[in-house]
């Protein structure tokens, strides 16, 4: 009897396994960024970043400092806040997410959200997107605490929120869950859990910004934190189902990857370093096959005190990164830029080296002289950009508030061109310099 059953199910399993493997989408390439040079007025221009035309443009109105609009995300009366992120909405506004509670990891932590109203240029009231009770009901299981929320827009324009939830232990017991909204974040679906680890599904966390592959699937840089500390790339279908997973680093020293895409095959991942010993610098991995395989390479020569970093690439392919450029502490936060080289070397080997060294272009916070103990903390930065080129930064301010800074495209581009020229003037081979490593 068992033998007959085994035969029948074996045949069915063979057929269904074939269909399942056959239906699985092949690994897709990245969407290659297209350079859209912008002049000092924030307008698209022909490719001439160091040409006479743009120089003339800068000479007219060189700003001495980068003027951004500072603001605070709404205070909702919860004493501890952390891990903010945000995403541009279809109507030109922005929606931010962060977690807040009596302390990090407390049972009363909720995921909050607020909308930046572009017409009045300020944040609206904070709302609760998800609390522990809602997560428990939605996921049909005990949830101990909630953590980092990170939004993404899928290929169909649907807003999705990936967040960390813990059932057992500390953050090492985390798993990622997802919920979606069809009305730009006003109402959310029930959460669903992503299975990304074989040991009771611990411990995968999300922090960095996701991206789209050219087939419409999504890539999410995530990280594992239990025993090993390493980065992984999740590939998800538009509904948030895990299609694949690739290791970006291994061992016990890298967390919270962010990804910069060079072209359809090449990308760099930068990590928060979490080494017990060794250089306290931003760790790096590269891929030359659209994220299928990653190779750990030498660090950036940028200090990192085991703290989260964030980065984006602008329309003209200038890269921005915000980080604590310290070996210890998180009391200083800076904005740095790296520019695309002007020569047209597009050979695949050089893709990761096509950028100038990182240059700090603004110190956002600095309490190095502070006597307080412990010192102030400016951490968990998150950068995002909308289609108009407006850039938004949110970060944790002393765990008490979330601070936001927004830069208008014109102001930012003008300042970046100025900084680029300053660097060109002070360097022997400024724009051709390879990425400092």
């Amino acid at each position: 009897m068992i033998r007959v059953l085994a035969f029948i199910f074996l045949v069915v399993a063979l057929g269904m396994a074939y269909l399942q493997v056959n239906d699985r989408p092949a690994w897709a390439d990245f969407i290659s960024p297209i350079e859209q040079p912008i002049n000092s007025d924030g307008q698209l221009i022909a490719i001439d970043p160091l040409g006479a035309g743009s120089k003339k443009g800068i000479a007219k109105q060189i700003p001495v400092s980068l003027q951004g609009q500072l603001d605070w995300l709404p205070d909702t009366g919860r004493p501890s806040v952390h891990a903010a992120s945000l995403i541009p909405l279809k109507d030109g506004n922005w929606r931010a997410f962060w977690f807040a509670g009596s302390r990090e990891g407390a049972a009363d932590v909720v995921i909050q959200s607020a909308v930046w109203d572009a017409s009045v240029k300020q944040w609206g009231q904070g709302t609760v997107v998800l609390d522990r009770e809602g997560a428990q009901q939605g996921l049909s299981r005990y949830i101990k605490k909630l953590g980092n929320p990170v939004p993404i827009r899928n290929i169909n324009g649907q807003l999705q929120l990936y967040f960390v939830a813990v059932s057992i232990g500390g953050w090492a017991g985390s798993s990622i869950s997802m919920m979606y909204s069809d009305d730009e974040g006003l109402r959310w679906s029930k959460p669903q859990r992503l299975i990304t680890s074989p040991l009771l599904n611990i411990s995968t966390l999300v922090k960095g910004e996701g991206f789209l592959f050219n087939d419409g699937s999504m890539g999410f840089p995530v990280y594992h934190e239990w025993i090993g500390k390493y980065g992984e790339l999740l590939r998800l279908d538009p509904s948030g189902q895990v299609l694949d997973k690739r290791r970006m680093s291994s061992g016990r020293g890298t967390l919270q990857p962010i990804i910069f895409i060079d072209d359809e095959k090449h990308a760099s991942a930068y990590f928060r370093q979490a080494r017990r010993s060794g250089a306290k610098q931003i760790a790096v991995s590269h891929t030359a096959d659209a994220g299928h395989l990653w190779t750990v390479t030498s660090d950036l020569t940028i200090s990192n005190p085991n703290a989260a970093i964030t980065g984006i690439e602008l329309a003209d392919r200038t890269r921005l990164m915000v980080f604590n450029d310290l070996e210890h502490g998180r009391h200083r936060l800076v904005l740095a830029a790296s520019w695309l080289r002007t020569n047209n070397d597009t050979s695949s080997q050089a893709a990761k080296d096509n950028y100038s060294p990182w240059k700090i272009i603004q110190v956002l916070e600095d309490e190095s002289a502070s006597q307080s103990n412990p010192k102030e903390e400016f951490s968990y930065p998150y950068l995002s950009m909308n289609k108009q080129g407006q850039v938004f930064l949110v970060y944790t301010w002393n765990r008490k508030r979330i601070k936001s800074i927004s830069w208008e495209p014109n102001t930012l581009m003008t300042y970046l061109l100025q900084a680029q020229h300053e660097m060109a003037a002070t360097s022997n081979a400024p724009i051709d310099l390879k990425e400092s490593q």
């Binding site: 068992i2 396994a17 299981r141 005990y142 680890s197 895990v242």
Partner: protein
């Protein structure tokens, strides 16, 4: 209650039944609970209902049914683990495993988990998301079991693959349908035991023997342990 809501309850019902069976075995082993099938069935039904009850609406301080707390820790068990608990552990000699099966599971686990948890850049867990080579290897193993007259193992692997292909659990990874940490620990312990002390005979009763069926114990007059 809509159909969708009922479907959402399936994983909880599944875990409740499995927990009920496990509790029944422990009750029999440690508390001398009746070996009778009817009593066992009643016990399992009672446990399942108790685990699924919305206790908060009955005045308990918990907000979730008890099984949701178990699920918070265990997640969803692999199909192979469930099959072993439901059948091999509790029933007839037809479900007797090959002596080599726990050893295969133990070796696979010892090789799998360190690499799957980040020892190097090599990640066997990622194969389970649909690597054709991995799926073919799993099906080859099922065929091998079948043609060596190990039908029960072939059936368990086939069911796991079918469950994966219809996305029965939350996971989209075939590994999660074949293996879980509970199965790995069991396989390692039983392998060590069998290697050192030898495998117990099919109809002899032993607390560790997964083949200790009700029928076998009755034949030997060992209804109560």
């Amino acid at each position: 209650m809509s159909l969708a809501m009922l479907i959402e309850q399936i994983p909880l019902v599944e875990l409740s039944v499995i927990t009920g069976v496990v509790l029944m075995h422990f009750s029999r082993k440690f508390f001398g609970f009746s070996q009778s099938s009817v009593a066992g069935l009643c016990f399992i039904v009672f446990c399942t209902v108790l685990l699924l009850l919305p206790l908060n609406s009955l005045g308990a301080p918990w907000n979730l049914p008890l099984v949701a707390y178990i699920r918070g820790v265990s997640g969803e068990l692999s199909i192979v683990t469930m099959m072993l608990i439901l059948f091999t552990w509790s029933s007839a000699p037809a479900y007797r495993l090959s002596s080599v099966t726990p050893l295969i599971i133990a070796l696979a686990s010892i090789l799998f988990y360190p690499f799957a948890l980040g020892l190097t850049m090599f990640d066997p867990y990622s194969w389970g998301y649909g690597s054709i080579i991995f799926v073919v290897a799993v099906m080859m193993m099922a065929l091998l079991f079948f043609f060596t007259k190990r039908s029960w193992e072939a059936l368990m692997i086939s069911l796991a693959v079918i469950a994966w292909s219809i996305h029965w659990h939350e996971s989209t990874n075939l590994w999660d349908y074949l293996l879980d940490p509970f199965l790995a620990v069991w396989a390692i312990i039983i392998s060590i035991r069998w290697i050192i002390w030898g495998r117990p005979e099919p109809y002899s009763y032993s607390a560790w023997d997964i083949d200790s069926s009700v029928l076998a114990r009755r034949k030997q007059g060992k209804i109560f342990s």
